[in-house]
Amino acid sequence: MSTVLNAKVPNGALRDKWDNYKADAKLVNPNNKRKFKVIVVGTGLAGASAAATLAELGYQVDAFTFHDSARRAHSIAAQGGINAAKNYQGDGDSINRLFVDTIKGGDFRSRESNVHRLAQVSVDIIDQMVAQGVPFAREYGGMLDNRSFGGAQVSRTFYARGQTGQQLLLGAYQQLSRQIGLGGVRLFNRTELVDIVVVDGRCSGIVVRDLLTGEISSHAAHAVVMATGGYGNVFFLSTNAMNCNVTAAWRAHRRGAMFANPCFTQIHPTCIPQSDESQSKLTLMSESLRNDGRVWVPKNADDTRPAEQIPESERDYYLERLYPSYGNLAPRDISSRAAKRLVDKGHGVGPLKNGVNLDFSAAIARLGRDVVEERYGNLFQMYERIAGEDPYKTPMRIYPATHYTMGGLWVDYELGTTVPGLYAAGEANFSDHGANRLGASALMQGLADGYFVLPYTISNGLAPLLNKPVPTTDHPAFVQAESEARERFSGYLNIKGTRSPDWFHRELGKIIWDYCGMERTQQGLEKALSELPALYSEFKKDLRVTGTGESVNQTLEKAGRVDDFFQLGMLMCRDALDRQESCGAHFRSEYQTDDGEALRNDEEYCHVSAYKWTGDPMAAELNKEQLVYETAHLATRSYK
C-alpha cells in the first residue's frame, strides 16, 4: 500500500507561493518561544544557520555535531562560490532565470515551488552574509564581484577566493557561537546521532553517542532538524570529508522518514585523479576553474608527450567542440560523462592515463599570471601539494569523482519529512536540485533552508503544540531506542571477525562505483543487488573492531557508519534499477539519444521516488510524488 505524499505546496501563482505561505503561517509569541525546545543535528551551513536563527528568535536550541567544533563541517570545503539572483552585473539575471536554470540543470526532476523559493531567498542570503562580515571578493569601487559557473549564462556567483564555503561556514559558525555565548544554544560536540525517537507518530527526540566516552543518552524536543549532509561516502572514494556519513538520515529513514531519489548522486567533473590503490579520498578542484581553464585530451590516444609539447592542432578541446554555447562551462553531469568516454577510449593523460587536461596557459597568456593567481591561487597551491606538479607550468589533470548527493530525506514545502516534527535541511534533504545540482547552488540551498525557510516553517509547526505536554526521555520509546543503540555498538565489538570496517567500506564502494556510478545498466545494477547482500552478511559475520566501547574508538564509529552505508547502497541500486530513464546525473546506458545524451522518460518517470522502510532495504516500499510543471516547460536540455 503506498502512502499519498502531500507536499503541502501553498496556493497561488508560483511567484506568490512563499509570500502566501508566510502570510498564513502560524506564529509563536516571543514570550512563548522559550517554552519550545528544538534540536538541530549537524552544524554545517544549514544546521548552524538554523540553530543560530532559531535561538535568535527565542527558541531553546540544542545543537549536535560529531566534530570537535562547529567550524569543521564539510560545508567548509566548498570552494567556488554561491549563487544569487542579484543581477549586480546587469547581465540579465533574475529570480525567474535562476529558477529556470536550476530546474533545467536538475533535468526536470525537482519540485517547482521549492526551487522558486530558493531563487527568491537567494538574494537575502548575500545581504545576510555580507552583514556578518563574510569577505566576498570586491571590485575596486567596493562593490561585490561575480563570476560564472556551469549551467548558467550569467555571472551570478559570489565568491571569497577559492574558500567561499569556508567563509560562509565561518560566518554561520560565528553567528552560532554568539548564541552559544549568550546561552541561546547548547552545543554538544563530539556527539553523534545514533537514532531518532518517534512517539505516537511524532518525532520526540534523538538518541546520541558521546564519541569520547561511548555513553548513549537521549534528548527530547518539540522538533528535530536533520542538517546532516549527504551520503557520497557510500562510494568510499569521494570528495566528501572522511567522516561524512548517512547514519543520521538513515536512522531517521528506519523510523519512518521516507528517503527520496537515492540514486541521484552527482559526479563532479574536476577532481584530482586517483594516484594509487591506497588512496583514502579524492580532492575536488573547484568548478570555477572552468571559467578560465580549457579542458582537452590528445587527439591521438597513444600520445605520451608532455602536455606542453603537444601542438594545438593535435589537441581535442572536446567540451568546446561538443557544446559550443556553454563550452567548458557545460553542466557537471554532461562534462563528467564526456571525460569518462574519452578516458575509456584511451585518451586519458597522466601516469595511469586516468585524467584529462585542464589547461590555464591561454588564461595566463591573456590575463597574466598575477590575475590567475589572484583568482585561483589557493586552488593551484592545493593541486601542487597533492599532485606534485605546478599548474602554472603544466595543465592540471582532472577526472570526475563523487561529490554531492541530490537524493536525501523526502521533505514537503515546509522541509518536513514524513515523520511529523522531524525536518531535514541542506544536502540531507532531496528537495531542490532534482537529478543534478548546478555549481554554487549547494551553499545557497544550505543557507536558504537554515536562515530563511526553517525559522518560518518550524514556528508554523510548533504553534499548535503550545502548552501541550511532550514525551520526556524516560518514555519507554526512548529507553527502548537507547538499549537498541547500546546493543548495536556492543554487537560490532563482539563479532570479532577478521576484516576492518575500512576493508568492507572499500569493497562496498567498488561495487557502488562500478555499477551505480557515472553510467548504469540493468545488468550491472542487478549484479550489484546480488553482490551487496552477500558482502553485507559477510560484514555482519566477519567484522573486526578492536578496542572498547568506553573511550574514543574511531574504528567502532566507522563500523556503525559502514553498516548504514550498506543498507543505503542497496536502496540506491534498487532505485537506479527502477528508474528506467536517463536524467541528469542518473545515466542509464539503455536510455540515451543517438549522440549519447540523456534520454528522459517524462511519461513514466516525472516523479520523485520516495522509499518507505519496511525492515529490508531491498524491499523498501516505493511511493511516488508526481512532479507538475506549471511554469517551467518540460524540455530536453541542450547545452549545445
Binding site: 552583514a131 567596493g142 569520547l212
Partner: protein
C-alpha cells in the same frame, strides 16, 4: 610512483586524558610516495587492527587542508616539515626510505590530550564565543552593495579570515599562546566596515577570553612560521593596538571608531 621502505615511526600513545602516555615504535615496511601522510597512518592502523590491536586515534576530516581538524607534531614541527601545508596535505614524497618519524599530539596546556594524538581545542571556540562575530541577526540586513568594501580592505580581511583554526600556532609557540589565532579573527572583522560598531568591545572580550586560557605572547614568531595558511604576524599588532584602545578611550567615543 616509488615505494618508500623501512620507515621507523615513534608514535605517542595515551589511553585517556588522565593516564600517562608513552612513545610506541612501529616499522612501516613499504608505502607509496604518492600516499599522503595520513594514508600512511591509515595503512598502519589497518595493520594494527589485523593484529588485534587498537588503532591509533588521530583527528582528521576533509583531507584537503581546509577544515582544520588534523594536527600532529611531526618530527617536532606542527603539521610537519613542509611550509604552508597541513598534515593531511603532506605527502610521503617529502620523506625518504629509512627515515625516523616522531609523531606527537599538539603540545599545549590549553589543548589537553583526549587520547593518543587527539586533543581538545574547545578553548578556541570559547574565544570566538566571547566576541568573534558581528552581531547581525537574520533578516534585517541591507542590500549587500550598500556596504562598500574597498578591494584592498576586502583582501586584507580575507587574508586574516583564511585561518582554519587548527591550533598549529599554539602548538608551535613556546608559551602556548593563541595570539595568532585570536589576532586573525579580530583583524578579519575589525578592518571591515561591518565590524566597526563592535570593534573595541570585540578586541577586549576576545583578548580576555584568550588570556584566561592560553599563555602569553613574547613575539617569537613561531606561530606564523608554523601556520599552514601563512597568517601574518601583523594580525597580532592590530589586535594589540585595538585592545589597548579598548582600555584607554571613552566607550561612547569608541563606538564611533
Amino acid at each position: 610512483m616509488n615505494q618508500l621502505t623501512n620507515l621507523k615511526l615513534k608514535v605517542w600513545r595515551q589511553a585517556g586524558p588522565e593516564t600517562d602516555g608513552h612513545f610506541e615504535s612501529y616499522t612501516v615496511d613499504k608505502v607509496s610516495d604518492e600516499a599522503s601522510f595520513l594514508e600512511m597512518l591509515d595503512q598502519l592502523n589497518e595493520r594494527l587492527i589485523s593484529q588485534g590491536k587498537e588503532a591509533i586515534v588521530f583527528d582528521h576530516d576533509c583531507r584537503e587542508g581546509i577544515c582544520g581538524t588534523c594536527s600532529l607534531m611531526i618530527n617536532g614541527r606542527a603539521h610537519g616539515p613542509q611550509r604552508a601545508t597541513t598534515t593531511c596535505q603532506l605527502h610521503m614524497r617529502t620523506f625518504k626510505s629509512g627515515d625516523e618519524i616522531v609523531i606527537e599530539p599538539w603540545r599545549a596546556a590549553a589543548f589537553p590530550i583526549i587520547k593518543d594524538l587527539m586533543v581538545d581545542r574547545a578553548s578556541f571556540d570559547r574565544i570566538v564565543e566571547a566576541g568573534g562575530f558581528i552581531t547581525a541577526p537574520t533578516g534585517g540586513a541591507p542590500d549587500a552593495n550598500l556596504i562598500l568594501v574597498p578591494k584592498p580592505v576586502a583582501d586584507a580581511a580575507m587574508d586574516s579570515a583564511a585561518c582554519i583554526g587548527c591550533g598549529a600556532c599554539v602548538a608551535a609557540c613556546p608559551n602556548g599562546a593563541a595570539n595568532l589565532f585570536t589576532g586573525a579573527k579580530i583583524s578579519h572583522l575589525n578592518v571591515l566596515p561591518q565590524g566597526q560598531s563592535e570593534r573595541y568591545k570585540r578586541a577586549e572580550a576576545m583578548v580576555h577570553a584568550m588570556d584566561d586560557q592560553f599563555g602569553s605572547c613574547t613575539n617569537h614568531g613561531e606561530c606564523s612560521a608554523a601556520c599552514p595558511k601563512e597568517i601574518s604576524l601583523d594580525v597580532i599588532a592590530m589586535m594589540n593596538s585595538d585592545f589597548r584602545k579598548s582600555k584607554s578611550k571613552n566607550r561612547k567615543a569608541l563606538s564611533r571608531g
